[in-house]
């Protein structure tokens, strides 16, 4: 039985503590991705020759990944819905589906990257590819972290414990989805 301080149970702002922390976490994530993407966009506009590099990104796989992440966002929100109804096992099932989405995303990513690296488009090839791998890599790290967190949340939710965590991990997951929603046009669509 873990010890929980009285402080954690208070809510002077009216927003639950854990959720408030998640919102602050997302605010700090916005500036991390914001700084990186602002730098990328500046280079992208300033370097017309990058259009010819961007041609080599695989729009098909990018679209597939967007589809996977959107779907996993749906299952995440359905898990939240189930948790709201107090149905822990159902929420856990939806979370497992979301984790499945995360794994699928990473599998597609691995396939995509190994294909690109095999064609010589490595991270050191030029600055476009450096940004491509760095941005997608940081995002991928968030996907992995999100999947691990969901695994942990699902394990407690299954037992109908700590159901508020389902929504919080869901918020984080939606944010990961949001970042991808912007990475997708930046890296794949705009050519």
């Amino acid at each position: 039985m873990s010890f929980k301080p009285i402080a954690t149970t208070r809510s002077a702002t009216g927003v639950m503590t854990a959720k408030l922390a998640i919102w602050w976490l997302l605010a700090s994530e916005i500036v991390i991705f914001g700084g990186l993407l602002a730098a990328y966009i500046m280079h992208r506009i300033g370097h017309p020759e990058w259009a010819n590099y961007a041609v080599h990104t695989n729009t098909m796989l990018g679209t597939l990944n967007t589809f996977i992440l959107l779907t996993s966002s749906l299952t995440a929100v359905l898990a939240h819905h189930a948790a709201e109804q107090g149905d822990g096992p159902k929420a856990a099932r939806f979370l497992y589906m979301t984790i499945g989405g995360a794994v699928g995303f990473l599998v597609v990513k691995t396939f995509e990257w190994s294909n690109e690296i095999a064609h010589g488009y490595t991270i050191t090839a030029n600055t476009f590819w450096s940004f491509y791998y760095t941005a997608a890599g940081i995002h991928g790290a968030h996907v992995i972290v999100g999947a691990l967190c969901m695994l942990w949340v699902a394990s407690t939710a299954r037992k109908n414990q700590e159901l508020h965590r389902v929504e919080n991990v869901g918020l984080y997951w939606h944010f990961v989805d949001l970042v991808w929603i912007f990475l997708f046009p930046l890296l794949y669509i705009a050519k």
């Binding site: 639950m16 700084g35 729009t59 966002s73 819905h81 948790a83 159901l163 046009p185 669509i189």
Partner: protein, 174 residues
């Protein structure tokens, strides 16, 4: 502060969500599926947009479909999945502030990094780099080799450590 006590109580019994305190915001499952359907529709449009843009030669269509739709999709996820609209006002404020700082960052840095020349300075290296790569791309059809060669050039130049060779003399490298 009876709020605190109540939340403390419920919290410990494992149904921490009941005490949300914003009244009714439990959308039905249908609502989520509908949102999802709209998102997928937008995804299809954003993928088809550039095709139309290329066909008609209007790059603006590509940009609008790519980024306009990204913004719409993001809005839908934030509103319908993250329920930000039901959140307290101050949450909006600090999220928007972080975002605003990033725009500030972009517009303050762009004059130095996006532009390659300005008041009394010229970024010769960037201009030479662009010219050289574009020449190569034109010569080599632009496809297939771009990535590789630029990397090679970078390294080669690096060791020479020169400033003014500009790379023109290496145009026919591949």
């Amino acid at each position: 502060m009876s709020d605190n006590a109540a939340s403390a109580d419920k919290h410990d019994h494992g149904d921490g969500h009941g005490d949300h305190g914003h009244g009714d915001h439990s959308h039905g499952v249908d609502f989520y599926y509908k949102t999802y359907a709209v998102l997928l529709g937008l995804l299809v449009i954003s993928v088809l947009g550039p095709e139309v843009g290329e066909a008609t030669g209007l790059q603006i269509i590509t940009l609008i479909t790519a980024f306009g739709i990204a913004v719409v999709k993001a809005g839908l996820v934030i509103r319908n999945f993250m329920h930000l609209t039901l959140e307290k006002r101050f949450v909006h404020y600090f999220l928007i502030t972080s975002l605003a700082f990033m725009f500030l960052f972009f517009f303050a840095v762009a004059p130095d990094v996006l532009n390659h020349e300005g008041s009394n300075w010229v970024n010769e290296a960037a201009i030479a780099h662009i010219e050289r790569v574009q020449e190569e791309q034109a010569a080599g059809g632009g496809h297939g080799h771009g990535g590789h060669d630029a990397g090679g050039h970078g390294d080669a130049e690096h060791h020479e450590g020169g400033h003014d060779e500009g790379g023109h003399d290496e145009g026919g490298h591949h």
